[in-house]
C-alpha cells in the first residue's frame, strides 16, 4: 500500500538555509575561492573529477565547496551536472607515450629509457605535520635542471621484443568500445567496459580490493612496472574539419602493473599487465585500478576464481560510489508503511512463539 505523506516543507526549507549558513561558517573568516581550491586542494579536485567522471577543474572545485568537502557528495554533484550537457562526440585515444611528464617512476627497471622522475610526490616525506603550513606558508621556488630530450617509452615496450611481456590487445577495425554511460552494463563485460567502470570507481573500494589481492585473495605477484603523471593532448574528429581537432591537454595518471603469469594451455609463461588510467594526479587510485584490472582478467587468463577481487559482477556492481551512496542513503527516506507492515508481522510471529512455548510448558508440567 502506498500512502502519500505531505508536510515538512518549512522544515526542509529552513534546513537548507541552515546548511548554507554552516557551509559558510564563521563570517569573520574569508570565504574560500574556487581558485584557492583548484590550486591548493588540487588532489581533492582531481579525485572529484575522476570519480565524477568529468574533467573540469573549475566545476569540481565548485562541487567541493558546495559539498563542504564531502567528496562523495561533490562527486554526486558533478555526475548530476554532466547529465545536463549534450555530447559532441568522442576523442581519439590519448597517447600516454607522448605525455608532458611531471612524474614517472618504475619499480622494475632502475635505468629505464627516459629515467625516473619523482615529480611533486609525498613519497619519502616523513609524514610529520608541518606547523609552518598553519600560517601563510611561502614556498620556495622549485629547483630546475636542463631537461634531457629522451623519449619515454611505456615500460612494456622494453621486454616486448623478447616476448616475455604480453602485448596490448587490439580491437578489430571499426569495432567501437563499450560506453557504460550509454548502455547498461551486462555481465560478463569486456575489458574496455570494466576499465571504464574502474576509472570512475570509488578509490577506497578499489584500494581495499587491490590490497586484498596482495594479501593472498587472488595472489598475482604485482610489480609497479611504471607510473606516470602528466598532460596528454586530446583530439577529436569532427565533420566540419578534415584533420583531428586539438582540444587542449588534460592531466592523467597511468599505471602499468606487471604480474608474473605461469602460463596456461594456450599462453606460455610470461608477464601480464594490469592497467590503470585516471584523471588528474591520482596515483593510489591508478595503482588500485591496475591491480583490480589484472585480478578481473582471471577468466581470460584461465586462472581459478577464488577471491572477491576476481568476481567481475561483485566488483563492478559495487565500485560506483554514487550508486552505492544512493542506495544506502535512501534508507533515510520515510519507510513508515513498510515498517508498520513489518511491525505487524513481528507481533504475530511473537504471539505464535509465545503460544508454542506456553503449550510446551503445559505439556512438560502435565508429564
Amino acid at each position: 500500500m502506498y500512502v502519500a505523506v505531505k508536510g515538512g516543507e518549512a522544515a526542509i526549507s529552513n534546513a537548507h538555509r541552515l546548511l548554507a549558513d554552516r557551509r559558510r561558517g564563521d563570517r569573520s573568516v574569508p570565504a574560500i575561492t574556487l581558485d584557492q581550491i583548484t590550486e591548493q586542494l588540487a588532489l581533492a579536485v582531481d579525485r572529484v573529477m575522476a570519480e565524477g567522471s568529468l574533467y573540469d577543474p573549475g566545476l569540481a572545485a565548485l562541487a567541493v565547496k558546495q559539498a563542504r568537502g564531502d567528496m562523495i557528495e561533490a562527486i554526486f554533484l558533478l555526475r548530476a551536472y554532466r547529465t545536463t550537457l549534450p555530447r559532441f562526440g568522442h576523442s581519439r585515444p590519448v597517447d600516454t607515450a607522448d605525455m608532458l611528464v611531471e612524474r614517472r617512476i618504475s619499480a622494475t627497471y632502475k635505468d629505464l629509457p627516459g629515467g625516473q622522475l619523482l615529480g611533486p610526490t609525498f613519497d619519502y616525506t616523513h609524514r610529520l605535520l608541518d606547523p609552518e603550513l598553519a600560517g601563510d606558508d611561502q614556498a620556495e621556488d622549485p629547483a630546475t635542471r636542463a631537461p634531457e630530450d629522451q623519449p619515454m617509452p611505456r615500460v612494456n615496450e622494453i621486454l616486448a621484443h623478447e616476448g616475455l611481456m604480453e602485448e596490448d590487445e587490439v580491437l578489430s577495425e571499426g569495432e567501437e568500445p563499450t560506453d557504460i554511460t550509454r548502455t547498461p552494463p551486462e555481465f560478463p563485460m569486456g575489458r574496455d567496459a570494466r576499465l571504464q567502470a574502474l576509472s570512475r570507481g570509488d578509490e577506497g573500494f578499489l584500494l581495499a580490493l587491490g590490497y586484498s589481492t596482495q594479501r593472498g585473495y587472488a595472489r598475482s605477484h604485482p610489480f609497479a612496472g611504471e607510473i606516470r603523471i602528466g598532460e596528454v593532448e586530446v583530439e577529436i574528429d569532427v565533420p566540419e574539419l578534415d584533420f583531428p581537432v586539438p582540444l587542449g591537454r588534460i592531466r592523467v595518471t597511468e599505471c602499468q602493473m606487471v604480474n608474473q603469469f605461469k602460463g596456461s594451455k594456450k599462453a606460455p609463461p610470461q608477464f601480464t599487465r594490469g592497467y590503470g588510467l585516471v584523471f588528474g594526479q591520482s596515483e593510489r587510485k591508478a595503482m588500485a585500478m591496475a591491480l583490480c584490472d589484472r585480478a578481473l582478467r582471471a577468466e581470460e587468463l584461465g586462472e581459478d576464481i577464488t577471491a572477491p577481487a576476481q568476481d567481475e559482477e561483485f566488483v563492478i556492481s559495487h565500485s560506483d560510489n554514487v550508486q552505492a551512496t544512493g542506495f544506502v542513503e535512501h534508507l533515510k527516506l520515510p519507510h513508515y508503511v513498510d515498517f508498520q507492515a513489518e511491525l505487524g508481522l513481528v507481533r504475530q510471529m511473537r504471539r505464535e512463539f509465545e503460544e508454542r512455548r506456553n503449550a510446551a510448558e503445559r505439556k512438560e508440567a502435565a508429564e
Binding site: 567522471s53 568529468l54 574533467y55 573540469d56 573549475g58 566545476l59 550537457l85 549534450p86 555530447r87 559532441f88 562526440g89 568522442h90 576523442s91 585515444p93 590519448v94 600516454t96 608532458l100 611528464v101 611531471e102 625516473q116 622522475l117 615529480g119 622549485p142 630546475t144 635542471r145 636542463a146 634531457e148 611505456r154 612494456n156 596490448d168 590487445e169 587490439v170 580491437l171 568500445p177 563499450t178 560506453d179 557504460i180 554511460t181 574496455d192 567496459a193 576499465l195 571504464q196 576509472s199 570512475r200 593532448e233 586530446v234 577529436i236 569532427v238 566540419e240 584533420f243 583531428p244 581537432v245 586539438p246 582540444l247 587542449g248 597511468e254 602499468q256 592497467y275 585516471v278 584523471f279
Partner: protein
C-alpha cells in the same frame, strides 16, 4: 621550435588557441585591433566529449571519462567560416578563437593574427612547458652504486 615568424598551419593555430588561457587571449584580441565582424553560425555552446584511452596504453580504445568542451563557428561578412573547440566552458574564448580561425584565412589579416596573437601565445605556452620540464628534470634520480669495502 619552429621559426618565430613562420605562419602556423591551421591545426597548429588551433593547438595554440585551444590551450591559451582565456583571459590572455581576450586581452591580446582586444589589443590586436582586428575586426570583430563575425556572426555566429553555431554556439558558442558547451557540451561533453567522451575521452578515450587505450587498454595497456597501446591497445584497443576504451572510454575513461568525459570532459566539458566549448565550441563555436563563426562566419565573416566576406564568407570565410572559422571553427573553434577547446576544453572547458569559456564561451568568449571559443568565439574569439573561431573568429581568428576565419580571419587567418584572409591574406590581409593572416599576418596580424599570426604576429599579434598566435606567436605570443605559442611563445608563452612554450615557456610554461619548458619551465615545467626543467622543474621535473630537477627531480630525476641519478643512481650510483656503492662500492662495498671488502677488498
Amino acid at each position: 621550435m619552429k621559426d618565430e615568424t613562420e605562419p602556423l598551419s591551421r591545426r597548429d593555430a588551433m593547438v595554440v588557441l585551444a590551450s591559451a588561457p582565456g583571459d590572455v587571449l581576450e586581452r591580446l584580441w582586444r589589443e590586436s585591433g582586428l575586426p570583430d565582424e563575425g556572426t555566429a553560425l553555431r554556439g558558442p555552446e558547451t557540451g561533453l566529449v567522451a575521452l578515450r584511452g587505450r587498454i595497456g596504453g597501446g591497445g584497443a580504445p576504451f572510454n575513461f571519462g568525459e570532459a566539458t568542451v566549448t565550441r563555436a563557428s563563426v562566419k565573416l561578412p566576406t564568407g570565410e567560416v572559422g571553427h573553434a573547440y577547446s576544453l572547458g566552458r569559456e564561451r568568449e574564448k571559443a568565439r574569439i578563437s573561431a573568429t581568428l580561425d576565419a580571419l587567418r584565412q584572409r591574406t590581409e589579416f593572416a599576418p596580424d593574427v599570426n604576429a599579434k596573437i598566435l606567436l605570443p601565445l605559442r611563445q608563452s605556452s612554450h615557456e610554461t612547458d619548458e619551465q615545467r620540464r626543467a622543474e621535473t628534470a630537477a627531480t630525476r634520480v641519478d643512481f650510483f652504486t656503492m662500492t662495498r669495502g671488502e677488498d
